[in-house]
Symmetry: none
Subunit: 248 residues, 2 copies
Amino acid sequence: MLKEERLDYILKKLQADNKVLQTELSNDLQVSEDTVRRDLESLAQSGLLIKVRGGAIPHSPHPYSFKERIGIHEDDKRTIAGKALSFLHDGQTIIMDGGTSTYTLVKMFPANLRLTVITNSVPIAMQLMEHPSTEVILTGGRVFKSSQVTSGLDTIRMLEKVRADICFLGVCSLHPTAGITGIDLGEAEVKHSMIRSGSRVMALATIDKMGTAEPFKVCDITELDTIITDRVNEEVMQPYLNLGIKVI
Amino acid sequence: MLKEERLDYILKKLQADNKVLQTELSNDLQVSEDTVRRDLESLAQSGLLIKVRGGAIPHSPHPYSFKERIGIHEDDKRTIAGKALSFLHDGQTIIMDGGTSTYTLVKMFPANLRLTVITNSVPIAMQLMEHPSTEVILTGGRVFKSSQVTSGLDTIRMLEKVRADICFLGVCSLHPTAGITGIDLGEAEVKHSMIRSGSRVMALATIDKMGTAEPFKVCDITELDTIITDRVNEEVMQPYLNLGIKVI
DNA sequence: CAAATAATTTCATAATATTGCAGAAAATAG
DNA sequence: CTATTTTCTGCAATATTATGAAATTATTTG
C-alpha cells in the first residue's frame, strides 16, 4: 500500500468521523502506530488536520458552535439526508441553506451527481469543493460565526436572481401556526429569500424541532411543500398534513 | 512493445485502480522497474499523474488544487506572512485575496487582532471563523474549485463598494514590464478590482515568482505599493525598486 | 543492406527513504 | 504519586531511487 493511500484514507476517515485515533488507524491500515504518527505529522505539517494526543481532529471545518451541534443526532440527520437525496437529479439547481442537516446531506452527495448548488453556508461550499461534478455558487455578505452562513442585503440580492428547482431549508423551529422561525432576524430574512427562489421548498428537521418556535419569523408553514424528518409520527405530523404539506 | 503502449496501459490501469505500483507494472509490462520508473517520470512531467514512492496516483480532478499547493514552500510563506503581519493594526479593513500565502498569513493572525476582512477565498473565510475578533465579509459568486475563490460580476460588484486600508494580493507571476499576471481571466479581473478598492496594495510573492508571467494581466507593476517576499535578493529586486516600489 | 548513430533498456551498485522496534521521556488519568 | 498511555529518539532492516556503464534495439544514411 502506498503512503499516499494511507494519507488519503486518514483524511477520508477524518472527514467522516470528525476524528481519528492512532490505534484504530494502525489497525485499519495494518501499519505500526509509529508510521501512523508520522503520517499524521506530515498531514499536520501540510495543514490538513490538527494532531492531538492519540490521534487527530479536522483543522478548520467547524468552530465549536457548529462543531458542538454537528455530532448530535448524527444518525437522525443521516436518515433525513438519505430521504432528501432521492429528490436530487442531474442537472438540477439547488438552494442549500446552512445548518448541520444540510451539511450532512451535502456530505452524502454521490460523486457522479451533477448539480448547481447555491448556498450561503461556508462549510457547505468548502465541502462541495471536494465534489468532482458540482457547480457551487456562494452568496456574498457578512459571515455569521455561530452559524457559518453569510447574510445581509448582498446575500438576498444574489438569491433574488436565482430560480432553483429545490430549496433545502435547515430549520430551527417549526410550528403549525407560528410557521418557521429562527433566532436571528438577518438569517430569517435570508431564509425567506431562499424560499421565494425555490420552486419546491423542502424543510429538513428532526422531530424534536416540531411544534417549537423562536422569535423571528421566516415564513408561514404553508409556503413549504415538504417536510423531511427522521421519524414520521402520525400524531405530531397531522397538523401539517392537514395543511396539505407532504411529510416524509 | 512500444513505449506509447506502455504509457497507455499505465494510464488505463491508473484510471481503473486509482493507483499503480512499479513492481506490478514491471510484471504486467515485462520490463524492468527502471523503465517503469522512467515511464512514470515522463507521465508525471506531462502532468498526467503524480509520481510517489513505489508507484503513482492520479492527481486530483482540479489541476494543482489548493490542497496540493498548501504544503509547498511552507517556511517561505511563513516568513512572508510574518513580515506582512507588522502592517496590521486594530480597526483596519483589509482585503484578502485567495492563495496559499494569504491563507498562511490569516492563520498567523494574533487572537486579539481586531480587523474587518473582505475576502473571496472560502478557506480564508473558514479559517477566520475560528478567530475571535475578526469581522468577515465574503464576496459572493461562482466558486472556482482549483483556487477556492469566488469570482464573477457579483464578486466585483461587492468589491466596488469597499474602501480598504490594505489589499493583500496573492500573486502567481510578477514581472517588471509585464506586471502582475495570472492564469485565469476571471480571477485576474477580480484581483484588479481588489487593487482598486485598497488604499495600499501589497503583493505577497515568494522569490521564485519574480520575473515570470502568465497569460492574463491583472495590473501594471506600478499599481503596487509594496512587494513582500521571503528573501530580498538585490539583483532580482532592483527593477522593482527603480520603479519606486518598496520591497520587504 | 549494412554501418553508424542515437535512443532505450537493463544491470550493478551506491545513496536515500520508509518502516518497525526498543527503550527513554513526557503527558494523562486515577 | 503511581500506573498507563502516548510520544520521542536512535537504530537496524527493508524497499525505493539514482547513477553510470554496458547491452540491446531502433533509426538514419550512404
